[in-house]
Structure formats: C-alpha cells, structure tokens
C-alpha cells in the first residue's frame, strides 16, 4: 500500500522534473532537474527490488555523467538570443526526430499497462542481485561485456582527439628529470679574487642546457 503510494510519488516527480528539464530557461537548472529525475528513477529501481542498479544509476549518472553536463553548461556562456536564432533553423529537423522517437515509443508501449511493477521474486539461489549480475555479465554475456570495453576505449580516444590541445609555451614539471639532475651538472664552484668580480660572465656548468627544450647552445666556459 505505502509502496504503491511511493511508486506514484516517485513516478510523478520523475515525469514532472523531466518536463522541467525541457522547460527550464536556465540550462543549469535544467541539469539539476535532470539529476532529480535520476534520483526518482533510482527510487523506482529500489521499489522493483533492483538495489544494485539503483546505486549504479546514482554513481554513474548522477555522480559522473551529470557532473560533466554541469561542467559544460556552467562553463559555456550560452547566449539565449543566439540560441533563439538557431531554433528557427533546426526546428523542422528536431520536430522530425522527435516525431520518430515518439512513434517508436507509442509502438513499444502500446501493449504495456502502466502500473507499479510487482517486486521480482527473490532468486532461488538467495544471492544478492549484484552477485546474480556478476554470474552472467562476465560469462554468458562476455561479447557484450567486451564490446562495452571497446565502446569505452573509443569514447576515451574520442574525448582526447576532440579536446586535447597541445600547449607549446607551457612549462611542465618532469619529476624524473628533476631527480636525475646531479649537482655536478648544474653547479660550478668558483673562487674569484676579491674585488675583481666575474667580469660580467655567467657561470655555467659544463653540461648546462637552458630550460624549455631548446637546442643546447654552444658550451659556455668561464674565463676565471
């Protein structure tokens, strides 16, 4: 009884916040509503007894994917007037895609009854559902599992190709090089006569090379 009530509460908030994702004027608010929707979906998973999936939904979608969304909408200064201009041009395409998706949804859901899902009967093995999943993901569905790995690899490479810019001017710390430095390479001990100075010369160690990976200049010797 109470569970049914919770189902409808979660479902109502889920649908309402999903609507707000589309309706919110401020993109940051839209992402925050999306997060609320994820939480309610996790609640629905819990009601259906899928606690592992509920937690993974929170960890992956709320904890990782939505963080990226927030990063993007917070850091891109989106101009609303510019977006309006685009709306005119892209509206027909958007409408067409939306229509196709909607038709597919109708086709799939036509036979479905919208009601609370009966909690799945506990598996006969008495395993938690995380262990049950573990039994099949890595063995029976190994090809799908490996395909996931490859999808992630492609995503990783794609992200790097799209976003990585080489900075030529920036200085990086190379700890190995720093550790490998020897005092003899960088230090010269000199003993100038008092009052004579170094004659405007800069003391350099024999193997000294300037920073920033420029080709080493000719060896500088001191004349002291």
């Amino acid at each position: 009884m109470i569970v049914t009530a919770f189902f409808y509460i979660f479902a109502a908030i889920l649908v309402a916040s999903a609507g707000m994702v589309v309706a919110a004027r401020n993109p940051v608010h839209a992402v925050l509503f999306l997060i609320l929707a994820f939480f309610n979906a996790a609640g629905l998973f819990l009601i259906a007894g899928a606690e592992f999936l509920a937690m993974i939904l929170v960890i992956v979608y709320v904890g990782a994917v939505a963080v990226l969304f927030l990063f993007v909408v917070m850091m891109l200064d989106i101009r609303f007037d510019q977006m309006r201009e685009g709306l005119q041009r892209y509206a027909p395409i958007g409408a067409a895609v939306g229509l196709v998706l909607f038709a597919e949804l109708v086709a799939t859901l036509a036979g479905l009854k919208i009601a609370p899902v009966e909690a799945a009967a506990p598996a006969a093995s008495g395993l938690t559902n995380s262990a049950e999943l573990g039994l099949v993901i890595y063995t029976r569905y190994i090809f799908l599992f490996q395909a996931c790995g490859i999808v992630l690899l492609v995503a990783m490479i794609g992200a790097i190709v799209l976003t990585l810019r080489e900075r030529v001017s920036s200085r990086k710390q190379d700890i190995a090089v720093q550790h490998a430095r020897h005092p003899a390479d960088t230090l010269v001990m000199a003993d100038p006569v008092a009052g004579s100075g170094m004659d405007g010369q800069i003391l350099r160690a024999p193997g000294w090379t300037p920073a920033l990976d420029k080709p080493a200049p000719a060896r500088l010797e001191t004349t002291s």
Partner: protein, 121 residues
C-alpha cells in the same frame, strides 16, 4: 511487500532528518542575524574594484577532459563491483574475461598518457 524496500526506510528517515536540521540551521541564522544589506556588501568579492564582467565564462577545456575520463573510469569501476562479489563462482573464465576488458581500457589509458592528456602545468 518486497523486503528490499523495507531496508531503505531508514535511509529515507536519515534524508528527512538531515535536511530538516540543515534547513533549520540556515533558517535560524536568517531569523537570528540582523540583515542589513547595501549594494557594496552584496557585490561579489573582488580585490577592491568592480568586477569587469560576469564570472561565468568559458573555461579551460581540460576540465571537460577530466570529467569525461572520470565517467569512463567510473563505469569501469561499476563493472568491477559485481565481478568482485562473484569471482569465485565464475572462476578462471570470469577472471580472464575481466582481464580482457581491463586490457582494452589500459590501451586507452596508455594512449591518453602518451598524448599528454594527463598533463597539467
């Protein structure tokens, strides 16, 4: 009545209590403290001058890269959880299956390392 959802009732109680306490604290300070706002007090912190422009602006793309890489590794960890609790049942095959998965991701990791995607200066 699913026993699973019963287990989560205390979580709901914790959520309610935590938010009530936190709201009470903020609300209490709004009520208890004297509110005397004036424009200078309400301006954003800056070193003594007016802010030049809005603070929300384009930012270094590397932050996106970090969060994308985080999603990928988070998913990897998500796949590891059920594996860790069922390893003795799925035996050597399951172990090798995961090694293959991790191997593919390690290739990606080495690629990003070599490309310098993990460099900050």
């Amino acid at each position: 009545m699913a026993p699973v959802i019963n287990d989560y009732f205390p979580v709901l109680v914790f959520v309610v209590i935590a938010f009530v306490i936190a709201l009470a604290m903020v609300g209490g300070s709004l009520l208890a403290g004297k509110q005397k706002p004036y424009p200078e007090k309400l301006s954003a912190y800056e070193c003594g001058f007016e802010a030049f422009d809005d603070s929300r602006r384009r930012f270094d793309v590397r932050f996106y890269l970090v969060s994308i890489l985080f999603i990928i590794f988070d998913l990897e960890v998500a796949f590891l959880f059920p594996w860790a609790v069922s390893l003795s049942r799925i035996g050597m095959f399951g172990f090798l299956s995961m090694l293959g998965f991790l191997g593919v991701l390690t290739v990606g990791f080495i690629y990003e390392w070599r490309k310098g995607a993990l460099e900050w200066e």
